[in-house]
């Protein structure tokens, strides 16, 4: 773990402004490649630290993070999931009613939530709430010299800060995604029963007939990847923070934007792999 010390506290890099647009573009590409490499190294280091998972102090920190990022997100996920299911049911139900097929809203809601909407909505909520808070915390710790202080005490910041968050998010994002799917289906059922005249029995029957186990597993796998992405992007951006409060704000904003983009790209790739 010794090599990680140099990975977190990096020397400031000063560079003169680029002379031409081409050199500016080249510099941005190099920065992108460097950032990707550093984020992957951070992920590898955090995975390496998982051998400490059964230590009491590590376990306590993991449980604390599970509570912070999982349980505290339940409220907002409940509301978003219910309304997502209700909107899905309403939109598809209105169109399907034109063909007398409104009973099929069960399948439409269930499949779209399990395959895509559940993990996607959960990940967006977690990126905006938990990811931004991780980035702000790491960023503040970096600029106030708490990260170098930890390293100089031979306390590995990856083991102390990143690993518990990574495990907590890798576990809680799929669980929250599953919870989001269940509530979305319930929301869809409420709209079906109250607005579209579809009974609960036929709604559930239709939903379970068309949804496959694979939809559930792939959705949970996506959520697992999304949890890892959010944590690594947030911690990497936080550790790379420079220039005080402005830097912390920039790290938080970049975390949310990068997480959103990566969630979309990885979501597409996983769908492509499992469904084509």
């Amino acid at each position: 773990m010794g090599e990680l010390t140099a990975l977190i506290t990096r020397e400031p890099v000063y560079r003169p402004p680029a002379d031409t647009r081409r050199s500016e573009l080249g510099r941005r590409v190099l920065d992108l490649v460097r950032n990707c490499g550093q984020a992957l190294l951070l992920l590898a280091s955090a995975i390496g630290c998982m051998r400490f998972i059964f230590q009491d102090r590590s376990r306590d920190r993991i449980v604390q993070q599970m509570f912070a990022c999982g349980i505290k997100s339940l409220g907002v996920i409940t509301i978003v999931a219910m309304f997502t299911g209700m909107i899905l049911a309403l939109q598809t139900g209105i169109e399907l009613r034109k063909f007398g097929q409104e009973v099929n809203i069960g399948a439409a809601v269930m499949v779209s939530l399990l395959r895509e909407m559940g993990p996607f909505m959960t990940a967006l909520i977690l990126a905006a709430s938990v990811g931004s808070s991780f980035a702000a915390q790491m960023g503040t710790m970096t600029v106030s010299e708490e990260i170098p202080a930890l390293e100089l005490m031979s306390i590995d910041p990856v083991k102390f800060l990143v690993m518990p968050r990574l495990i907590a998010m890798a576990v809680m994002t799929p669980l929250l995604s599953f919870y989001c799917c269940i509530l979305g289906v319930i929301g869809g059922g409420i709209v079906g029963a109250t607005q579209l005249g579809v009974s609960w029995t036929s709604y559930i029957d239709n939903a379970t007939r068309y949804a496959e186990n694979k939809d559930l597993y792939v959705g949970l796998l996506k959520a697992f990847f999304f949890g890892i992405i959010i944590t690594i992007v947030a911690c990497h951006e936080g550790f790379a923070t420079r220039q005080g409060a402005v830097g912390v704000g920039r790290a938080t904003r970049r975390t949310v934007i990068l997480s959103f983009l990566l969630i979309l790209v990885v979501g597409y790739i996983v769908t492509r792999i499992f469904y084509i």
């Binding site: 010794g2 710790m141 170098p148 202080a149 100089l152 031979s154």
Partner: protein, 253 residues
């Protein structure tokens, strides 16, 4: 014990350190002084490899910290305790939890033994009543003393202090000076203090190095330092109303 050998460091668009060489002996209270922006903190950060020299090297005993990596760097760093300018306490932990952190993370001591050591260190720095307070609930001087308790809990050989008295009222500043001197007297710890507070340096320092434009322009014991004929040193002494007429006396703390 600590040796800078022709260290040069380029940051931004200029050399922050230019050919810096000096040696610190075991048990010294060595002060690095100078105006802001002359490379004092940069010098300190080279000792624990938070910065790496572009030229030259920094030796800690027989170890070259400038080229050390991985576990070797970790081993060298365990010889140091560092008091950062801000204190760098973890804000979500209480003072006692902050001080206990190195023991909890790096040793297998029982909670009762950890608590006893934490209590002892907090009493040493005069904070026995602040154990359950959070860093945001205590003053700047108390934060620095709490950070000092945390820095010394693993009994380091060398203590680095980055501006330990900056932002403090004179009474708190002298209390920190007294703590540094007291620790050196009791444990023989080597202390390196970066400051622009010459009163501290002259009161408790064994030797003082003055940095100016990235170079050591004066290195002397306090009595000789106040008699320096180097113009920048004279100007620095004058700026803090320290007379060079020979009537300055080292104040025992």
């Amino acid at each position: 014990m600590i040796r800078f050998e022709h260290v040069r460091k380029w940051l931004g668009d200029h050399w922050v350190l230019e050919d810096v060489s000096f040696e610190i002996q075991r048990g010294e209270i060595f002060f690095i002084v100078g105006p802001s922006g002359t490379g004092k903190s940069v010098t300190l950060r080279h000792m624990v490899r938070l910065l790496t020299p572009d030229d030259g090297r920094v030796m800690i005993g027989e170890d070259c910290v400038s080229t050390a990596r991985g576990r070797e760097l970790e081993r060298i760093r365990t010889r140091f305790g560092v008091l950062f300018q801000s204190g760098a306490l973890l804000e979500w932990l209480t003072v006692a939890e902050n001080v206990a952190l190195p023991l909890r993370e790096l040793t297998e001591l029982e909670p009762a033994a950890i608590e006893a050591q934490v209590r002892e260190k907090l009493e040493l720095v005069g904070l026995p009543d602040a154990m359950d307070k959070y860093p945001s609930e205590i003053s700047g001087g108390m934060r620095k003393r709490a950070a000092l308790a945390r820095a010394i809990i693993l009994k380091p050989e060398i203590m680095l202090y980055d501006e330990p008295t900056s932002g403090l009222d004179p009474v708190s500043a002298r209390m920190i000076d007294a703590l540094i001197a007291d620790m050196q007297a009791k444990t023989g710890i080597t202390s390196i203090v970066v400051t622009h507070d010459l009163h501290s340096a002259l009161s408790i320092g064994t030797r003082i190095a003055m940095l100016f434009d990235g170079r050591v322009i004066e290195l002397a014991e306090p009595a000789a330092f106040v008699q320096s004929q180097v113009s920048e040193v004279c100007e620095f002494l004058d700026s803090q109303y320290i007379t060079r007429r020979g009537d300055w006396e080292r104040k025992a703390l």
